[in-house]
Amino acid sequence: MIEPREDNLNIKLLFFAQFREATGERSREVSIVPGTDASTLLASLVRECPRLQGLASSVRFMVNGEYADKDSVLLDGDEVVFLPPIAGG
């Protein structure tokens, strides 16, 4: 996603629902530069999978299983989930 550098951070993305279908993957390890936030990572994924564009504005974020703001700065080892509109029940 971003060129490898010594100080890059490794994080794990998990994909569900429309994100799983659009990427064809359930999870992915990515390397990011320090200071990257959740919404920047989402924007990068949307560039790769343009069919997710329409969902981007309604996506919520979870980091390590807890809801997080879109401008949350990601840390090494974080597990990040982009949540399209949920529909439990």
């Binding site: 998990l14 569900f16 629902a17 429309q18 799983r20 329409g54 969902l55 979870m62 390590n64 299983g65 807890e66 809801y67 597990e79 989930v81 949540l83 399209p84 509109p85 949920i86 529909a87 439990g88 029940g89």
Partner: protein, 138 residues
């Protein structure tokens, strides 16, 4: 609690009732969500549920803590199914016991409403002629 909150297996209401039943509770309310045969004018064949398990666990843990704060004498249990469900199958069950019925009804209603708004579960509706992720574009 020993009950699995996310399961691929059919939900057994008896297990949830046993989980919350106790001598000091005079009432138990159960909400059971079932796959309906129609949605927005479409004939539904199946609903395919998927869940982010770690997110579900943390979400339900927050919800059940809040239930304890709002209705201190209640005891609640929740189970949600994943996988492919046919019309009539149970997708979710919420049970709450309390000394008296009013708080059991209130808490059960609050839990299912909050789960639907916060808990990371998705469903795809398979209907006659197509499929759609529920909630998309709504």
């Amino acid at each position: 609690m020993t009950l699995q909150q996310i399961t691929n297996e059919p939900i057994r209401l008896d297990d949830l009732l046993r989980e919350v039943s106790r001598p000091s509770a005079g009432g138990i309310v159960a909400f059971v969500g079932v796959v309906r045969d129609n949605n927005e004018g479409r004939n539904v064949r199946l609903l395919e549920y998927e869940a982010y398990e770690q997110g579900v666990e943390s979400s339900l843990s927050h919800i059940l803590s809040e239930v304890q704060r709002k209705w201190p004498d209640s005891k609640a249990a929740v189970q949600h199914r994943t996988g492919s469900l046919e019309v009539g199958e149970v997708s979710v069950a919420v049970v709450v016991s309390a000394p008296h019925r009013a708080e059991a009804f209130e808490a059960a209603r609050w839990i299912i409403d909050t789960l639907k708004a916060q808990t990371p579960i998705w469903k795809k509706e398979i209907f006659e002629g197509g499929e759609v992720w529920v909630g998309e574009g709504a």
